[in-house]
Symmetry: C2
Subunit: 436 residues, 2 copies
């Protein structure tokens, strides 16, 4: 059994903490017993490992999330990279082809495709074993995980089971019906689709050949930008006649909006906040180092990051997307595989960054065409490489890096650098990578 | 006639836009016809000049506000500096002594003592002439400006006039009575004290000699920190029997809290903000460059500056003081006479600042004992002086300034510098000023 975690998505709904690079699954917001905050991705991985002593996980993600993702998964976790952002069907096809072509896994192997953001109880993941068994030992092409619906939502897929058992054949699957139709499905005993699909690798690749015209990893990768932007639910599940469903009994929450996310927070705040006594049912998530004072707030969520500040009535917060899409600012806080960088000043013709490298890490060897850089080390020790020459650096050292000079920094201890970039046209694209 | 504007106060009630250095009178928040935002101080000065073609103004302020104050007043405006913060009586005594001893003004000259923050109509200031006339031509020792009260507030002084005329003798003055007593004063035809006092210089200096033991500028200045922390209202006005009052008829607003300040704002926001349609009676003042999204807010004021973020129900916002006093962060945004500086990063053993100098201005020649600095010019041209040696600098130039090296920068054009300070003990006190 192979678990494919789908970790894509740009997460505009959790602005300003999520953005194109830091998707919602990386926000450390969930309290655990020992007061450590874990992200959605960390929570799901912990729950999977709790259910399975040995398990193969591959994470499907987009190119710009690879760097941050590596910080959140074990070194031996496989990652399948989408060359650009498409929907779930191309991402699943590419990952299945990667498992067969690159990892040489038999295409009879059951795969469990699971989103990275279900907020559920631990036994949700125990159902994966039942689903894999059905893939191997029943005639079903596809096995779904059904959730008891609580209201006629228009946001989910509906599964109509043939019987009211823990395992059942599926009579019909309908993705995102209108509320009236959803109501009818619920009256017929319909279940919400929990977003988990089980099938054989070969099943995905057959559908890929049939609907996307390609079924090898190379072909899919090369032609990825031409593939249709379609979900697995619409492209495959709605048309499949031979489906079984396994029921999950327990809490299941879609924590994709601030409203629902604050419901599962164990504290009313994260970060520097003072509340007055008149605040009720209000949550503040403060990722900046600016102090916040909250007074007399009722049913309000506040989320602040270097990228912006949201102040919203909780019920209204689900409608944030168009407002967040209006914002086209430089992203200010970026997690990289080597540490984090924060944009601390944006001026005409200049950008100032604070780079924090963890001991033992290093930036990739690179150069820029259109900007000079001045680095000042403010904490720690390391080595700088400039056009092949290595030099030790410590607190107070200043390194001038003119355009075209290849450079990197290696952190021998935890290391902090203030980097002043100067140039007429400063973009993240102006970066040429070099072999050491 | 001399006008003394009292421009002290730390303004915790308008946190995070006001702080020890930037008092509330410097916040540019008031819309005028040409869309330019002016501060309370600028508004008051404009209104005074509108009423008087020729007028002598002296501003009494504290040492740490001198630098910012100079940006807001004409070059020929006198400034009287309190060596440390006391209340209004010592500040008024010091300024009166300065007028007599340093400016050699006759101590028969009428002075009008006025706070810098009354939000009033232009004709409020026309009353100053009537008050000065009464000082010169009546037997009154003190002339007050009365305001029609609108409710039995505990925040103001109450004046009981003998008659219901535009000018009247005063039977009684009571500073900040409780609400029940205030109600009785209002029933007796009592007026609020508008905070404006008119008298002769000699009157203040007599009271100073009598109550503070000193009456010369030198003595008062030298012994300032030992003077009692008492207001003019309590120390002098409550005990004076020979008072007249002049009535002002018109709008008078105390805009010292967010609640009252937003009432006089002409727009619902200043700075980068998106409101959704469900926001009602809510104001956002955003002095950061971070975008804000406000959704479904009812009667909320949001104020954001690099020093922090307030989100408050408007009615609750008047109770901010104890919360603001709990915050002991490095002040992030400081206006200086030469421009502004912004703290853009605070790290252990290092502070990074963006200094913005206006063309023609210069920092004072100074050195530090406990920190090195690295300056990178990111915009403009200027000259740096290091231990007496002058050097031209332009964009991209890096200047290293070790501890003890005397230095300054002169802006030949508008100039921006990123300054990285490195040292174990970085404080604003570590600054030694030198003659050029």
């Amino acid at each position: 059994m192979q678990i494919i975690l789908l970790s894509g998505g740009s997460g505009k709904r959790l602005w300003p903490l999520s953005n194109e690079i830091r998707a919602k699954q990386f926000i450390k917001i969930f309290g655990t017993v020992d007061e450590y905050h874990e992200s959605m991705l960390q929570r799901v991985l912990r729950q999977i490992h709790k259910n399975f002593s040995q398990v193969s996980i591959i994470v499907s993600t987009s190119r710009n999330q690879k760097s941050i993702l590596k910080k959140y998964v074990d070194a031996d976790t496989d990652i399948s990279i989408e060359p650009c952002r498409r929907n779930t069907f191309p991402a699943i096809a590419l990952t299945a082809a990667y498992l067969r072509d690159v990892k040489k896994i038999s295409d009879d192997e059951p795969i469990i495709i699971c989103p990275v953001d279900p907020y559920v109880e631990d036994n949700f993941f125990a159902k994966f074993k039942d689903m894999a068994n059905l893939v191997e030992n029943s005639a079903a092409n596809l096995v779904l995980l059904g959730i008891n619906p609580t209201y006629p939502s228009e946001k989910y897929g509906y599964i109509i089971p043939a019987e009211n058992n823990l395992v059942s054949d599926v009579l019909e699957f309908k993705e995102k019906p209108d509320s009236k139709t959803a109501q009818k499905y619920i009256q017929r005993g319909g279940l919400w689709n929990g977003g988990v699909f089980a099938c054989k690798i070969s099943y995905v690749l057959e559908k890929s050949r049939e609907l996307l015209n390609f079924d090898t990893c190379d072909e899919l990768f090369k032609n990825y930008s031409e593939l249709p932007n379609i979900s697995f639910d619409y492209a495959v599940v709605e048309h499949e006649k031979n489906i079984k469903v396994v029921r999950y009994i327990g809490d299941w929450k879609d924590v994709g909006t601030w409203n629902t996310l604050t419901e599962v927070m164990t504290e009313k705040n994260i970060g520097k906040v003072q509340f007055d006594d008149a605040c009720e049912n209000s949550h503040v998530i403060n990722e900046t180092d600016m102090p916040i004072i909250a007074m007399g707030l009722q049913n309000i969520v506040v989320a602040a990051s270097p990228d912006g500040i949201l102040i919203a009535d909780k019920a209204r917060s689900s409608f944030i997307k168009p407002f967040a899409e209006n914002i086209h600012e430089q992203i200010k806080f970026i997690e990289k595989s080597w540490g984090v960088y924060k944009v601390i000043d944006v001026s005409e013709g200049s950008l100032t960054i604070k780079a924090i490298l963890d001991a033992g890490n290093r930036m990739r060897y690179h150069s820029h065409e259109y900007r000079d850089e001045v680095w000042t080390v403010i904490e720690g020790n390391g080595r700088v490489v400039l056009d092949g020459r290595i030099k030790s650096v410590a607190v107070g050292d200043v390194i001038k890096i003119p355009a075209f000079v290849k450079h990197t920094i290696i952190a021998d201890t935890d290391l902090k650098v203030i980097e002043v970039q100067i140039g007429e046209d400063i973009t993240v694209e102006d970066k040429i990578l070099w072999e050491d």
